[in-house]
Amino acid sequence: MAPKLEVEDLNAWFGTKQVLKNINIKIEENAVTAIIGPSGCGKTTFLRCLNRMHEINPDARVSGKVLFNGLNIYGNGVDPVMIRKKIGMVFQKPNPFPMMSIYDNVVAGLKLNGVRDKKSLDAVVRRSLELVNLWDEVKDDLNKSGASLSGGQQQRLCIARALAVEPEVLLMDEPCSALDPISTAKIEVLIRKLAKTYTIVIVTHNMQQAARVSDYTAFFYLGELIEYGPTKQIFENPKHELTEKYITGKFG
């Protein structure tokens, strides 16, 4: 099976500070890949390079290739807007649109695509909210503000919003870090469910979470990819000393 995303010699900078150094990694289709590593090692930056979100920061710069279904997203004439529609993103802090209803939050991306038909929007809202197991909780409150939900519900709403535009890849940056254990468990179950049809890359600080939800794990350290492999192997039999230190918590 060809990889969904193939990263070749990826470097990223903020101003003159290089935060990613020569990253090469192949991300498999319909699998969950976890990105782990100490704070500041470049996990978020790496994730944001995969859907060209990095460059919206005026100081940011990227070099190298990211092949998405074989197409280099940094190639000439590639529209980052189209890439972001295909490679969705969920942020660390839930960021629903507070001035929009729950319904409008879910269809925000579709409306950008010009979908206006009420029937198909209704269907998408229902399907997306069911997918993230939120439908039963909010089906009577679809007109309420997106900000009226609990943190965990907001994050599931954000996932539904990202899924509504039917991306092929979903990037998640510590999606559970602001959530309680019950909401976290719900989202982890959801990630496993989504992995059947989506390619998921998830950044996490939680080793147990990485072990529970991911098929592959990549360990980053100081902007470099130290080790990458099947999650089981990384956790049970890491090849690199740094990886072992990190996953066993012996890190400074």
């Binding site: 859907n51 979100m53 919206i56 005026p58 807007v81 189209m82 972001r84 529609k85 969705g88 993103m89 942020f91 802090k93 960021n95 629903p96 649109f97 507070p98 001035m99 925000a108 991306g109 950008l112 695509n113 900000a147 954000c158 919003r161 990202a162 535009v165």
Partner: protein
């Protein structure tokens, strides 16, 4: 080395005075604040007292009357002035709001911060220019320019529409509207910029990650603060309605119910007060002008309070959400 402080006042003897000073300061500020309210109250009282003769004589006809005849019949009706104020202010908003929106968005969304602050500074400087300067500039620069290069062309192209026909003096309704627009742009765009700047980046990123273009992202920012934007517009309206000097210098100061075109002269509430108060030779005349002032104060107060409330509410709401 650790020092145990028995009493912070013995370690910092001046602190006590600072704290007392702090309380004195609080009391003084409270006094000043209430003085402002008192002044406002006195002002309203004086205006009502001054208008009383006119209110008794004309009643509601003062607001609805269309005749202003101090010389012979001594009848005063302010409707044309109210219309003149409303129309010039509306023109000012029509021209000024889109430009202010553009400036506000440019400063918060498009121009890098390190250059933006220079423009911000200039914008705020423009807001501080005395209105008589705008009036002089309007008379000596804008009027000849509009008359010679703009209005004649507009009339040539759109003269078949009545509002763009008729003689061109240079000054008049449209010129007054344009000057007012220029005067409200600095304030309104500064308020809009502040509103857009407090939209958290996470909101922009949320919509960008869904595949929004730059324009769609900017629209999201505006819709996020839309109630505040409306407040900023009302704030501009309040300024336009109350503006006196610059308007009276360019509008032509002619009392008539409705001008023949946008190029025609007209009058506003504030302009007539400034122009005629010194010529008002008998009590009813003075009282009628006071009555105009009372109506003007009432309108601007309501509009200003409304706009401040809306802007303030939005800022609070948005900050609250941003903090969560």
């Amino acid at each position: 080395m650790k020092v145990k402080y028995k009493n912070k006042h013995t370690v910092f003897p001046y602190l006590k005075w600072l704290i007392i000073g702090d309380n004195i300061f609080k009391i003084i500020s409270a006094l000043f604040a209430s003085t402002i309210l008192l002044l406002l109250g006195l002002m309203v009282y004086e205006l009502i007292k001054g208008s009383w003769l006119s209110i008794q004589t004309f009643g509601l006809d003062f607001i609805l009357g269309t005749k202003w005849d101090p010389a012979i019949s001594k009848v005063f009706g302010a409707l044309p002035l109210i219309l003149g104020t409303a129309v010039t202010s509306a023109i000012a908003l029509l021209i000024g709001v889109p430009i202010s929106l553009g400036v506000g968005l440019a400063l918060s969304e498009y121009i890098p911060k390190r250059y933006g602050f220079v423009i911000s500074f200039l914008v705020e400087l423009l807001a501080a220019v005395p209105s008589v300067i705008y009036g002089l500039w309007g008379m000596f620069v804008l009027i000849p320019f509009l008359r010679d290069y703009i209005y004649s062309h507009i009339r040539a192209l759109f003269g078949f529409i009545p509002i763009f026909s008729g003689p061109i003096y240079g000054g008049g309704v449209l010129t007054a509207g344009i000057v007012l627009a220029i005067m409200i742009i600095p304030t309104v765009s500064a308020v809009m910029r502040d509103l857009f700047m407090i939209v958290p980046n996470s909101q922009r990123e949320a919509i960008i990650a869904l595949g929004a273009t730059k324009l769609e992202t900017v629209k999201t920012v505006v819709s996020y603060t839309r109630s505040g934007v409306i407040g900023a517009i009302i704030l501009g309206l309040g300024r336009a309605i109350g503006e006196t000097m610059a308007v009276t210098m360019v509008i032509g100061n002619r009392f008539q119910v409705w001008p023949s075109s946008l190029f025609d002269a007209w009058y506003t509430m504030s302009a007539i007060i400034a122009n005629e108060l010194l010529e008002a030779t008998y009590d009813l005349y003075v009282s009628a002008l006071m009555n105009v002032a009372l109506a003007l104060l009432f309108i601007t107060l309501v509009i200003n309070i409304l706009s401040r409330l809306i802007v303030w509410r939005t800022l609070r709401l948005v900050r609250g959400i941003a903090k969560e």
